[in-house]
Each structure stands twice: as C-alpha cells, then as structure tokens.
Symmetry: C2
C-alpha cells in the first residue's frame, strides 16, 4: 500500500450555492493540466452511491462526511489528488477527516447566505422559506465556518477562475504534483 | 481522471470461513512484491465504514456490494489493484459491479459448507445452528456460486499459498503490473 506519489485531499466546504461544484470542476481541470491524477467526490453524487438512506440530521451528516473521508483517504494514500465538494457544515467532522487523511487542504468556499439564496441553484432556499423542507444549512441548520482554512474563496467578490487559481497556487506550493 | 496505469479489481467471493481473507492477504503481498499499488477492501471493514445500518437482507447485501463496487471502481480507474474480499452471495450484484468496473477478475473461494462450518472462524455457523442469528449465507440465506469464475480456489484441497499463486498467475497473464 506504499506509493511513491504524493496524494492530497482538497476539501471544499461551504453553503449550498456558494460555488463549491464550479470551483471543484475548475480545480480538477487545472490538476489534469499539471499531469496529476485527480478524482472528484461530489457530496450529492456520493450521497447517491454510499449514503442512500442517510438524511440531514447532525448524526447523518457526520456519517456522510466520515464515508466521503474514508474514500478520500483510500485515494489519497494511493497518490491520487482527491477533490471533495460537500457542504460539510460541522467543524468537528471536517477536523476528524483532516486528521485521518493527513495530507489535506481545507478550502472555505465563502459567500454570504444572502448571495447564496439569490443564486439558489437547486431551489432549496426557496423551498426552505416556503416551509417545504427543513434541515437546510444556513437557514434552520448550522454552518460552522473553518477557523483557519488553507484557502478562502470569497465567491461574491472573485470569479470561479480566480478562486480555482488560488487553490491551485497552494497545491503547487505544497507539491502534490505526481 | 485518465491514467496510464492499469488498475484491476480482484473480487474474492465465497462463504464465511472459505478462506477469502487469508487468500486476499497473500495476494496483496504478492502484488506488492511485483511493485503494484494495491488496496484491500475487506467486506467486514467496509461494512463498518460505509455501511453502518445495513443488515443482511437481500436488498441490504446488494447495497453493500454496490458501495464496495463504487469504491473499487474509483481505485481501479486510477491504476490501483484493488482486492475485495466479501461473501457477495448474489450473482446479479457481482455481475453488476463487474460490468461497471470492467477490468475485473472474479475469484471463487470455494470450500464445501461442511468444511467452512468446521472452521467457523467467526462462530457464525454455531450461532446460526443455535438459532441465535439468522440470514447466514449457506445456512438459511442463499449463496449463488459464479458460473464461470476467472479463478476457482478449492480451499479444502489446496493451501492458501497455492490459492494465492493461482490468482497471481492470472494477474501476471493479463498484465495488471503498474
């Protein structure tokens, strides 16, 4: 299980519609341009494959993050650069996967809730305001921002390309290149 | 997400106490000696990490196999040789992951139920006979043997080293070496 490549997990956390998916896609493209082997674990996709039956309580959200972390760890220790995009609202759950994985960048994809609510790409804020759904992060469920993220992307003030570039600058600096 | 390495999934199926874990360990050792990057996904371990809450009904067993298959696919397409040891009693579920993953060897770890019951490494046959547990594969739950496995290990007639060697011979032939 040893490897001569250097794997890395790049973990994007933030509210729904903050821009995680867009930045993740751009980061993956940049990694491939650098000749890195990259995998992208998107929270919504992983929920379908690994977490069917889990809901949005704190316990279920933590279990969801733990499962993504388990897979990210397997990939990372085999030299794959693994990009995760998942709301991952709880600090303790993020810190736990960070400890497990070791070679890890936390990226805080940050836009004010008011901006996310205007974007509302999946319509969940509208449905939350209409009382149709509950447990929506930022509305009636907490989001705990990172205390000291490795990168912070202010997506209300910068373009997705700028955000991705600032992530890739840190990747280049710490040398994940395979 | 492209890779110049050739990943492979080696999937060991068979009854409890048939010898899957022992053979998987020996196969992983042989892969490392060949300079392969190898990961081992053991059914019991994966159950703890990805499948907490799943039981032993057909639907839950199929979901369990689908999740292992999802992770094996991620690893395999990144050039990792992934060894899976899991009872995986249902043919259709195994065939589904085989189709998804593509580069796949099915290894039937075969010992008669009577032999497995004498070994009974985890005590599950004794507990099943005592009526303490149900849904035990080979006792009150079905096991559907592969129709045409790539390798069959008759663990009642050969040593674990012999079984592992026959798996590794096929690996060498199809060229999973990285």
């Amino acid at each position: 299980m040893s490897t001569n490549l250097r794997g890395l997990t790049i973990w994007l956390t933030g509210l729904s519609s903050a821009g995680k998916t867009t930045i993740a896609a751009a980061v993956c493209e940049g990694l491939r341009e650098r000749g890195c082997k990259a995998e992208w674990l998107d929270g919504d996709v992983v929920r379908q494959h690994l977490c069917r039956g889990l809901g949005f309580t704190k316990a279920d959200r933590d279990e969801n993050i733990r499962r993504i972390g388990f897979v990210a760890e397997l990939l990372t220790r085999n030299g794959i650069v693994t990009v995760v995009s998942a709301i991952s609202p709880y600090r303790a759950a993020r810190d736990e996967v960070r400890r497990r994985i070791g070679h890890f960048l936390e990226v805080y994809v940050n836009a004010p809730i008011e901006v996310c609510e205007v974007r509302d790409l999946k319509g969940i804020y509208r449905r939350a305001r209409a009382g149709e759904i509950s447990h929506v992060t930022g509305i009636d469920d907490p989001y705990e921002p990172p205390f000291a993220p490795d990168v912070e992307c202010r997506t209300d003030r910068e373009t997705p390309a700028e955000s991705a570039a600032s992530v890739l600058r840190v990747v280049d600096r710490i040398g994940a290149r395979t």
